[in-house]
């Protein structure tokens, strides 16, 4: 049996060994406890030196691109272009005009808008303090950030109405933030656009790289966005002037064949276009447009849109959709939208602004100002597009008729480019058109709901009426 002394010695040794082991542990800690991530960059290292500027700038454009699909869905699925043909509740809601605050796309667009605004604010806060960046680079990237923040707020204001005005990356500030009046938001959009216009690089007609001219921002495509802004603001003179500047710049030119608009990426007509490569195509993700429109055919063109697009008035713009008899059964009319291709096709990008829209903006602005006929009249602009589409020319002369012709022409020309619902709401035609289309239509659908999760998490938000 061990003795007391022996026990004591053993105890001492026991602790001595323990201490040695403890020290060994501490020495090996560092290596084991601080592995470096291979696919992530820590916040503090993101924007510190001149070489960091380009990656963050691409990140900004990436966020900008993310808004495209849900914005298109808002513009065209909320209106009379589609009918539901699948099993996803979100799209059945759009088809039956029973949109709810829990619709995922409502949430996706909101998310994309504010993540774009976050990156823009991040650049606006950090870039001025990064030393060694070339002055024109700094100016350009700051201008891009302002433009994109403006763009996101523009879409937000017209989709959701009053919008939280986010001007910082501060988490605390942005968590409980109330809505700011739509007019204030739009004023900030204009301020952002104007600031961007000053510092964005200029391009002229000698610039022949259609891809670059549509992929990245310049003074001309900034003017195009501003033309759309003024049109929505009913500032007809400015809309007309800016549209004219874009049309006459020579940077962008109309294609000969409309079918190329449908099936090709980065055409000369493309004013602002967000591109996907083979490897980052959205594929089957929730808002992958090809997947929704072609793969799953969750939505198909409504019968009334099909009728419009295959009429002689539309001309070659009937190529926007295609028919497959094999698919025609039950409630399926067999028609499919062609404007969004798969990753391996040449039309998987999303076009934000196309030169044809500038003609339509100018036509509408001119018609509103009573400039109807003649070389600088609305009808002339419409006929530019009609000629290209091999459709009969318009010969209208009454202002109301010309305005309706503009509305129809926008259907032919811009179907599935995300404009319809916004057009109907801003022209005040939405009640008339949509009530005729769906018995479930109600005036509260002139705005989308604030996503349910935001209402729940941010108690400062108030839901739009009717939802």
């Amino acid at each position: 049996m061990p003795t007391g002394k022996d026990n004591k010695d053993n105890m001492i040794r026991f602790f001595r060994y323990s201490i040695v082991l403890t020290l060994a542990v501490l020495a090996s800690c560092q290596q084991i406890l601080e592995p470096k991530p291979v696919d992530l960059l820590v916040d503090d290292l993101v924007l510190n030196e001149p070489n960091d500027v380009q990656p963050v700038r691409i990140g900004l454009y990436n966020a900008f691109r993310s808004m495209g699909a849900s914005n298109m869905i808002a513009g065209d699925f909320t209106a009379d272009y589609i009918q539901a043909n699948g099993t996803f509740n979100d799209y059945i809601q759009f088809g039956t005009k029973r949109i709810t605050a829990t619709n995922d796309v409502v949430d996706v667009l909101w998310n994309n808008l504010f993540s774009t605004i976050y990156v823009a604010n991040f650049i606006l806060e950090r870039l001025p303090n990064v030393s060694g960046v070339k002055d024109d680079t700094r100016k350009q990237v700051l201008a891009e950030a302002r433009f994109m923040r403006g763009w996101a707020n523009f879409i937000g204001a017209y989709t959701y109405g009053d919008l939280p005005k986010v001007t910082t990356t501060d988490n605390q500030t942005n968590t409980q933030i109330a809505r700011t009046a739509k007019a204030d938001i739009l004023a900030s959009v204009l301020a952002d656009y104007q600031a961007a216009l000053t510092d964005l690089p200029a391009v002229d007609a000698t610039s022949t790289n259609a891809t670059t001219n549509a992929t990245y921002l310049n003074k001309t495509n900034c003017r195009a966005a501003m033309a759309r802004f003024y049109l929505y603001q009913k500032n007809w003179a400015q809309a007309e002037a800016l549209a004219t500047q874009v049309i006459t710049s020579g940077v962008y030119t109309l294609l000969t064949n409309y079918s190329d608009v449908v099936t090709k990426d980065f055409t000369t007509e493309s004013v602002l276009e967000v591109g996907y490569a083979l490897s980052d195509d959205p594929g089957t993700s929730a808002t992958g447009l090809n997947n929704l429109l072609v793969g799953r055919r969750e939505v198909i063109p409504s019968n009334q849109l099909v009728a419009a697009l295959i009429s002689t008035e539309a001309g070659t713009r009937s190529q926007t959709i295609t028919f497959n008899a094999q698919q025609q059964r039950a409630s399926d009319n067999g028609w499919t939208v062609r404007k969004y291709g798969t990753a391996s096709e040449d039309n998987n990008n999303i076009v934000y602004i196309r030169l044809a829209e500038l003609y339509l903006i100018r036509a509408e602005a001119r018609a509103q100002q009573g400039k109807l006929t003649g070389a600088t009249g609305a009808v002339a602009d419409l006929n530019v597009l009609r000629t290209r589409a091999k459709a009969p020319a318009i010969t209208l002369t009454a202002q109301a008729d010309v305005l309706l012709a503009v509305e129809r022409e926008r259907v032919y020309e811009l179907a599935f480019e995300g404009q319809r619902w916004y057009d109907l709401v801003r022209t005040g035609r939405v009640q008339a058109v949509m009530s005729a289309f769906s018995p479930n239509w109600d005036s509260h659908y002139e705005l989308w709901p604030i996503p349910q999760r935001e209402i729940q998490l941010n108690t400062a938000l108030v839901q739009n009426p009717g939802y």
């Binding site: 049996m1 061990p2 003795t3 022996d6 053993n10 060994y17 323990s18 082991l21 403890t22 542990v25 090996s28 084991i32 406890l33 601080e34 592995p35 991530p37 960059l41 820590v42 380009q54 990656p55 691409i58 990140g59 900004l60 454009y61 990436n62 966020a63 539901a84 099993t87 509740n89 029973r98 709810t100 829990t102 995922d104 504010f114 993540s115 976050y118 990156v119 991040f122 939280p164 986010v166 942005n174 968590t175 933030i177 891809t211 996907y276 083979l278 490897s279 980052d280 195509d281 594929g283 089957t284 072609v294 793969g295 698919q327 039950a330 409630s331 990753a343 996503p451 999760r453 729940q456």
Partner: protein, 999 residues
């Protein structure tokens, strides 16, 4: 007396020899440990039961122990020959229990540990040892997520402690925390693979489940969800080399088929829905006598009876210096879905050697390979079983020539009717997993009673996923946005872990009755993960199925990750005369998953026990063998979240062919350990020579600093931030009763366990509901996390019935605004069982044995999400409907629970309590019958034992659940969204016969 030097004692030692035999049959017992009590001086009996040991003197006491035998203490006195008769233990008091970095006898435990011996599952064809725990231990809830072979299981010990960190217990095999959960990079419609299926359950000697803080604290940071210790078989000292062969063969079938409509019934229903919507069904192509011309039973077309077979050969033996165990096995299980199959090869080797009195070393090695042929299932739109449930009977799988219809045939239904037979047999989804678990240890007795042990182990897993979907399938041919012309993915991953454990053990006793033992140690653990994958499309034809032939290789990925854990371990045990027992345990852990300030966590615990039966005043109760009251208190942790979550990070972001960085996560430098405070009180009682034993435990656990990806307003630019927010409570009671009812020629024993756990979310960052699960139609989501409610709470509208006048659903207008909106969503039930457990009866007579195992769950709800499609009230006409749909409202005055069918009207199909059902069940989990051939028949063949047996699982189920199986969960492993049935493949019943031969 204390002053006598030990050296003198040893010199004056007495040599004792003797023989150990069995009381029952007088046969010699090899491998019994004979130890001088209170010392580490011990030997084991040889093949003839003989032993020889030096003892200090006549005052010494010998302790004889062996697994399965009642331990004995024998005072030496003046004898030099001591023969020992040992008795088979029918109770578990003397059972050796693994307690982490130590072993002890059950009677000396002051914490809550449940043990499951392999005897309890040897006749059940479990693919993995976690499945073997099902219904066998109180406080352990196991449910199989689906009938997919080799698929995942949900294992929960004492409820759900965590919201977003893992709730799976820590599984430790021979000292190594092994990979559990899914290894594959791809989930198949909610169902994952199960890493534990790489072990052969027949190589297991014991399973010990550590349940309270005192037992678990030695595993500190990862122990909050409980710890399951697996010890694999080892050879016994001085044993004749023994061979065992085991063969099992049988059939597998679905337990219950869903009841769907035939073509004519469906057509009538769809026509009615269209007419109710004011449209003309003929114009939609729903024409009587034409549309229903074809009537395909898709379920029968995609299901089959599978063949099950398993073969195993093992050998074990050894002398007093070296012992070994070696086994090999093959298992092949055909799934009930066409083309699904699970094939496993395993090899197991264990080796122990005693080089000198002081030095011993050894190794363990597990090698296994699984080939898993999988098929898409569950909520996959193009799944097999799910597709068969949904597909319209109007279509047919084959044309007249027996060729499968594919995307280019006019007879192909198209979205979402993707010919599920083709979806089963045409694609290739093969997962090959190779596992190597290896451990090397050395042990050295530095001083008497002071032992150092070091073990280094590696758990190495290699996973290769080989997939191809030809142009004749939905993805490969029908969906141009994905495949178009064949779609192939090849991925390879390596997940490995290295663990180094070093411990010092010391024990001594003071004045005979004070026993101390202590353990101190440190452990380093590093986990490595490397993954890579490729995706190819546009294959020349379906003859080319590997990416080498792909026209486009458009997606690729490679990735590496590392995490680590550094820990200090300490434990002190004390007992006074085995009457008062106390244990203090603590672990100090540092994890790479947390930031510098919060990296280390301390997890202490303490327990005390009082053996009341040893008190003099208890001696009068002679029927009482043992009565022990024990209580424990302590802290455990959880760090099972992803890596680098405390960092604010940016990740690669692309745009038009350029690559930059975009925001990925918000920083939280204060992210820290999730901690569970656990309190336990328990009573162990044993009566009538151990023929009746009770164990009762009650616990109260509170988890705080919950690791939680907290949703935040997206105006911040992010949708979640990883935080430590909220508290979850688990309180419960567990009862285990074992009895030997008859112990004569007929032996009848009963094991029963029942558990009650009450789970509740106490607080969260805000009182706002946090939604989880699937998106619901008309409400946010299927599940909600809400303070005051348990995890697994279902959310939806409250369905009040069908209006007899209109046939429309009536929902509770909770906010009273006169409309049904998502704001009317409310708690409609939860998936937590109020009671669960198991009951096993075993009867043996002469060579025969029968065992009947019942398992039950009571009080849990199931969300039959399948019925949002199969009883969809006309929302679409592209899916077949369940027979329940025939109960729909048709005319004014109809009293029914199924609303009327209106084409494309989703109002009646809003997610509501209409889809919530009682999930309670009582299931005959297993019945097995065996017969041991009499020795006289087999002895001349040099065979020691032969057992033939037959076993059947899942034969019978009592439940009110309307779906095929109440024991399913589509989101395998989910806590917040458990208990959802969404086209989940039901369990299977397996019937097989087996033969075991020992020689």
């Amino acid at each position: 007396m204390l002053a006598i030097l030990p050296g003198c004692l040893l010199a004056q030692g007495v040599r004792i020899t003797g023989r150990v035999i069995s009381v029952q049959d007088g046969q010699p017992l090899p491998g019994v440990n004979i130890q001088v009590k209170g010392t580490t001086n011990g030997v084991s009996s040889d093949a003839n039961g003989n032993y020889s040991i030096n003892v200090p003197g006549s005052a010494a006491t010998l302790l004889a122990t062996s697994i399965g035998l009642i331990s004995q203490e024998i005072a030496v006195g003046n004898r030099t020959t001591i023969n020992i008769q040992m008795q088979e233990s029918i109770n578990e008091l003397t059972q050796v229990v693994v307690t982490g970095y130590n072993t002890t006898q059950r009677k000396d435990i002051s914490s809550s540990i449940a043990s499951v011996s392999p005897d309890k599952f040897k006749d059940i064809p479990v693919a993995s040892f976690d499945q073997a725990l099902q219904g066998q231990a109180a406080g352990v809830q196991v449910s199989q997520s689906s009938g997919t072979p080799g698929g995942g299981l949900m294992v929960r010990i004492r409820g759900n402690t965590s919201i977003s960190a893992s709730n799976r217990p820590l599984f430790i095999v021979d000292g190594v925390p092994v990979e559990n959960g899914a290894l594959g990079g791809r989930e198949f419609g909610g169902q994952t693979d199960n890493a534990l299926a790489l072990f052969n359950p027949n190589d297991i000697e014991s399973i010990d489940v550590l349940k309270d803080a005192s037992a678990k604290a030695i595993y500190g940071s990862r122990a909050a969800n409980g710890v399951v210790l697996i010890t694999t078989k080892r050879g016994k000292a001085n044993q004749k080399t023994k061979f065992t062969a085991d063969v099992q063969q049988g059939m597998i079938d679905i337990i219950r088929r869903p009841d769907l409509l035939n073509a004519t019934e469906l057509l009538d229903l769809q026509r009615e829905a269209v007419i109710n919507a004011g449209q003309d069904p003929d114009k939609l192509g729903l024409i009587r006598g034409v549309t229903d011309g074809q009537n395909t039973d898709w379920i029968n077309s995609v299901l089959r009876k599978g063949v099950y077979q398993q073969y195993q050969l093992s050998t074990q033996g050894g002398n007093d210096k070296t012992q070994f165990y070696l086994s090999g096995s093959y298992r092949n299980e055909q799934g009930i879905q066409l083309n699904s199959q699970f094939t496993r090869y395993t090899g197991q080797f264990k080796f122990d050697h005693k080089a000198t009195d002081k030095l011993s070393f050894g190794m363990n090695l597990t090698l296994s390979q699984v080939k898993n042929k999988r098929v898409k299932s569950d909520n996959f739109l193009d799944g097999v079983y799910s597709g068969a449930l949904k597909s319209l009977p109007y279509y047919s799988p084959y044309n007249e020539q027996g060729r499968l219809y594919g995307p280019n045939d006019p007879e192909y239904g198209g979205f979402p009717n993707f010919n599920p037979v083709g979806q089963a047999v045409l694609p290739r989804f093969e997962t090959y997993t190779i596992k190597m678990l290896v451990g090397l240890y050395g042990e050295y007795e530095i001083l008497q009673n002071l032992r150092f042990r070091s073990k280094i182990s590696a758990d190495y897993n290699n996973i290769t996923e080989d997939q191809f979907e030809p142009s004749t399938t939905a993805i490969g041919g029908f969906l141009p946005s994905v495949g178009g012309q064949g779609y192939g993915v090849f991925s390879s991953a390596n997940v490995s872990k290295i663990v180094n454990t070093n411990t010092l053990n010391y024990s001594y006793q003071l004045a005979e009755k004070h026993h101390f033992s202590g353990t101190a140690g440190f452990e380093l653990q590093q986990q490595f993960e490397r993954r890579g994958s490729l995706q190819g499309r546009l294959f020349p034809s379906d003859d080319f199925t590997y990416i080498r032939s792909a026209g486009i290789v458009d997606q690729g990925d490679s990735y590496k990750n590392r995490n680590g854990l550094v820990s200090l371990i300490g434990e002190v045990r004390y007992d006074y005369d085995e009457k008062y027992l106390a244990t203090i345990t603590s672990r100090y852990d540092g994890s790479s998953r947390f930031g510098q300030n919060r990296r280390f966590g301390l997890f202490p615990s303490a327990s005390v026990a009082w053996r009341i039966s040893s008190e003099p005043f208890m001696q009068q109760f002679r029927f009482l063998n043992d009565l022990k009251l024990r209580t424990s208190f302590g802290f455990t942790g959880n760090e099972q979240i992803g890596d680098y979550q405390f960092l604010g990070t940016w990740a690669s972001a692309t745009y038009s062919g350029a690559t930059g960085v975009g925001p990925a996560a918000l920083a939280n430098p204060n992210l820290q350990w999730e901690r569970t405070r656990e309190a336990n009180i328990g009573l162990d009682a044993s009566f009538f020579s151990g023929r009746l034993t009770f164990t009762v435990d009650a616990y109260d656990n509170l988890t705080n600093k919950l690791l939680f990806a907290q949703p935040i307003p997206q105006t911040t630019g992010f949708s979640t931030v990883q935080g430590n927010i909220g508290e979850v409570s688990n309180r419960g009671v567990e009862l285990t009763i074992s009895s030997v009812n008859i112990n004569k020629a007929v032996r009848w024993s009963t094991d029963f366990n029942i558990s009650h756990n009450q789970n509740k979310v106490i607080s969260l960052a805000t009182d706002q509901p946090v939604f989880r699960g699937y998106s619901g139609n008309g409400v946010s989501n299927t599940n909600v996390i809400l303070p005051g409610q348990p995890l697994g709470t279902f959310w939806g509208l409250k369905f009040l019935g069908v209006d007899p006048a209109t046939g429309d659903a009536i929902y509770d207008d909770k906010n009273g605004d006169g409309r049904i909106t998502p704001d009317d969503g409310q708690v409609i039930g939860n998936a937590q069982a109020k009671l669960y457990g198991g009951l096993t009866n075993r009867v043996s007579w002469k060579g025969f044995d029968v065992s009947v195992f019942l398992q039950f769950s009571y009080g849990n709800s199931i969300l039959n999400f399948t019925n949002t499609t199969l009883v969809n009230t006309g929302a679409d006409i592209q899916s077949n409907q369940s027979r329940q749909a025939l109960k729909r409202w048709q005319k004014e005055g109809d009293i029914t629970s199924v609303p009327r069918y209106v084409f494309q009207d989703t109002y009646n199909n809003y997610l509501s309590s209409r889809f919530l059902e009682d999930g309670s069940f009582l299931r005959l989990k297993n019945v097995s019958v065996g017969y041991n051939l009499p020795k006289k028949w087999i002895e001349r063949f040099k065979i020691t034992n032969t057992r033939i047996y037959a076993s059947a699982t899942n034969l019978w189920t009592l439940t009110n659940y309307s779906g095929p199986d109440p024991e399913v969960s589509t989101l395998d492993g989910s806590t917040a969204a458990q208990g959802i049935d969404f086209f989940t493949l039901p369990q299977v019943k397996t019937v097989f016969v087996g033969l075991t031969i020992g020689f």
